[in-house]
């Protein structure tokens, strides 16, 4: 079952912060975050593992609450380059990278 992302879209001014949430109805082994710019392929941001640490990319970090089956992506001091659509991918099993992606969150950072 597809994880649910919220919000569906967010508009920020440069330097502002935002949080994107990803919730699953299943217990999760790992959560993967990707960013996709318009007309381009998705690009990896980070992986969070069950029982593992929070891993960051630039000023983007994330957390993984195993009990709540949720992950959150934190965009801190946003830059224009952060614009794009963010997808979470979830894997309930420790096997094979078979991800189920959420519907995406569109982020627009304005000057």
């Amino acid at each position: 079952q597809q994880p649910v992302q919220s919000p569906q879209a967010v508009i920020l001014r440069e330097g502002e912060d935002a949080v994107i949430n990803c919730s699953s109805s299943k217990a999760l082994y790992s959560v993967h975050w990707y960013r996709q710019k318009h007309g381009e392929a998705p690009v990896f941001l980070m992986i969070l593992l069950k029982g593992g640490e929070q891993k960051g990319h630039e000023k983007i970090s994330a957390s993984f609450n195993e009990k709540k089956q949720q992950s959150s992506l934190y965009l801190t001091a946003s830059q224009l380059s952060y614009s794009g659509t963010y997808f979470c991918g979830t894997d309930p099993k420790a096997a094979g990278n078979k991800l189920t992606f959420g519907g995406g969150t569109r982020v627009l950072v304005k000057p």
């Binding site: 993967h32 990707y34 381009e40 392929a41 998705p42 094979g96 990278n97 519907g103 995406g104």
Partner: protein
């Protein structure tokens, strides 16, 4: 150049025709994937391969066939294309599990 490539980048075909989308990676990654992305939506896994000659269905496999005789290639065939298969198709690869998935540039397929 090293990386993951897809061909063709754009394809227009007619209902009922067979179409093969190619995916090639130069990293010798064990895992390869095919996703489809419909306009304004997320990625859905079609097929997945953990190694040469090992493939498994994903979320939406109906109407698609894959093979993987060599580690570096993972072609996707639409046996009899339908309009509902109009989409952008992405191939991806990863070295291990769980690990970064590197996506190819995509193939935009239109079925008339």
């Amino acid at each position: 150049d090293a990386g993951i490539t897809q061909s063709p980048r754009y394809k227009i075909t007619e209902t009922g025709r067979q179409v093969t989308l190619m995916c090639h990676q130069t990293w010798s990654h064990s895992y390869m994937f095919w996703y489809r992305q419909d306009l304004g939506h997320g990625l859905r896994l079609i097929y997945y391969s953990a190694a040469a000659d090992i493939t498994d269905k994903g979320e939406v496999p109906d109407g698609y066939v894959v093979s993987r005789s060599k580690t570096e290639n993972f072609p996707l065939t639409l046996e009899s294309a339908t309009r509902s298969q109009t989409s952008v198709y992405f191939c991806a690869s990863s070295e291990s599990n769980p690990d970064t998935q590197y996506f190819g540039p995509g193939t935009r397929l239109t079925v008339l």
